[in-house]
């Protein structure tokens, strides 16, 4: 984990120490990703079961001191101790008494041959097909946009096969809604807040005349901004559950589909198109009795297996957990794993010999039904589930396996997008 959170000329020091409790191998990735949120000075971290290595960016002023004293810049002992204490708190909270998740593999086609093995991003950027506007924020050109359009067709066919009703949801989501479903407790680290200038002539005048940005963003005082009433939505399906809140599902069930911008702040974990701050998801959402939701989730998986097979995509479907924040992680992740609530579609990224979650099959039990008072006709709380696809990640995985030249793409994709004859 390493990314650009620092200014130019900031000295970097390396800090190594043993974790307060051994970190199980299966947890090292989760702990490492959480270290991004421990301290703004941390710009990189590596976690092994018996060793933690931090890259710490010192304030730029340390460079000046360094030059004057002709000594390497260093962390003060107090600061070093503070950083270590914060990291150990995370380690203890996540690793002590951790329950090992059972990984259940439902489909494994990772060994399908792939035609391409390079990282497509540098070439996409060179061709102007992808441009990075800021950390985690990307604009996509015609090639990727068309590919996403192709995948959208497939996902819409899936939605149609369930008779899903189309919805359009806003990008903003009220803070009060998110409070009602405990989102602040489970995922505080990834929230993105929305505000505006206070309705005050002086504040607005002052802003219009003096607003400026430095390397860290707007220099405007936080006092100029109004209290936060809304967030940028982290998922699509929440909007449907809120639309159904405090109601009885007269027909006994509902199936919906929608596409939407989603926002999850991932600090220094933000990386290329793999982990974006602002991304797009298409979801097919099921609300009804338990069997209705579970059967449809399974049917969706079977239907998507055929889609991925026709593409020749190398991927695997396996059980997974959501990235709960530190305090909730141990229990919530174990619960999700035990009840098999989440399965991820993990596509192969040949260029890094790794996989990337491009979609998921989710079951929430009656959590939203209870939290939001969505009732079935018999008065019991509704169960919910969703099938979600990350459109940019889907395109990235495809390009990673098939390359940037349409000639090397599966004929079905070429035909659909360009009307090209099969090779």
């Amino acid at each position: 984990m390493s990314n650009d959170r620092r200014e130019a000329n900031q000295p970097i020091v390396r800090l190594e120490f043993q974790p307060a409790t051994p970190i199980p191998e299966y947890l090292t990735g989760e702990v490492q990703s959480k270290l991004a949120y421990v301290d703004e000075w941390i710009v990189g971290a590596e976690v092994a079961p018996d060793r933690i290595t931090l890259q710490v960016a010192l304030p730029a002023v340390a460079r000046v001191v360094d030059m004057i004293l002709d000594e390497p810049a260093a962390l003060t002992n107090d600061r070093r101790a503070e950083l270590e204490e914060k990291v150990q708190r995370v380690v203890l909270s996540m690793a002590k008494g951790a329950i090992k998740p059972k990984i259940q593999v439902l489909e494994d086609y990772l060994d399908r041959p792939v035609a391409y093995e390079k990282d497509p991003l540098p070439e996409l950027i060179a061709r102007g097909e992808v441009s990075q506007e800021a950390n985690g924020i990307f604009a996509l050109g015609p090639l990727v946009a068309r590919l996403i359009g192709y995948f959208e067709q497939q996902f819409l066919k899936l939605a149609d096969s369930f008779g899903a009703q189309p919805y359009r949801f806003p990008t903003l989501i009220p803070a009060r809604y998110m409070e009602r479903v405990n989102y602040f407790r489970a995922f505080p680290h990834s929230l993105t807040f929305v505000t505006h200038l206070r309705e005050d002539l002086e504040v607005i005048d002052e802003f219009s005349q003096h607003a400026a940005c430095d390397d860290h963003g707007l220099t405007t005082s936080p006092e100029a901004f109004a209290r936060i009433q809304a967030l940028l939505s982290p998922a699509v399906c929440y909007h449907l559950y809120f639309a159904l809140a405090d109601r009885v599902l007269q027909e006994g069930h509902a199936t919906a589909t929608a596409v939407g911008n989603c926002f999850r702040y991932e600090a220094i974990n933000l990386a290329s198109l793999e982990r974006m701050w602002n991304f797009t998801m298409r979801e097919v959402i099921f609300v009804g009795p338990k069997d209705f939701v579970l059967e449809n989730r399974e049917t969706a998986r079977q239907r998507m297996r055929e889609v991925f097979e026709s593409l020749g995509l190398a991927y695997r479907v396996e059980s997974a957990t959501d990235p709960f924040f530190i305090g909730e992680f141990r229990k919530q992740a174990a619960f999700q794993s035990a009840f098999q609530l989440k399965y991820e579609i993990r596509a192969r990224l040949p260029y890094k010999d790794s996989t990337l979650a491009v979609g998921s099959y989710n079951y929430h039990q009656d959590f939203f039904g209870r939290s939001l008072n969505i009732a079935l006709p018999d008065g019991s709380p509704a169960h919910t589930g969703c099938v979600a696809f990350g459109l940019e990640r889907m395109a990235l995985a495809f390009l990673s396996q098939f390359g940037l030249e349409p000639d090397s793409w599966p004929k079905e994709v070429r035909r659909s997008l360009y009307g090209l004859p099969a090779a």
């Binding site: 998740p101 229990k331 999700q336 209870r370």
Partner: protein, 83 residues
């Protein structure tokens, strides 16, 4: 008081503490979801306390089975040294 009653009472008391509910609400037949407090976090708290107080190691597979007071009692009778 029979062995079964004693164990059931211990489990009811443990569940009540774990989910922070009055013990009188934790009936001998209570199951996951019957009380708002016995939600996902409450359930995992029950599992952790079972491990601590009965010296059992609860496998991930089992967590999804131990969803009621009777199921927990049955599991403890088969897997823990209970008196």
């Amino acid at each position: 008081m029979s062995h079964e009653t004693t164990l059931a009472a211990r489990v009811q008391s443990l569940v009540a503490e774990a989910i922070q509910a009055p013990v009188e609400l934790v009936t001998p037949e209570l199951a996951f979801g019957d009380l708002p407090q016995w939600d996902s976090l409450g359930h995992m708290e029950v599992m952790l306390r079972l491990e601590e107080q009965f010296g059992v190691e609860i496998d991930t597979d089992v967590i999804a089975r131990l969803v009621s007071v009777p199921e927990i009692c049955k599991y403890l009778e088969e897997n823990a040294h209970v008196q």
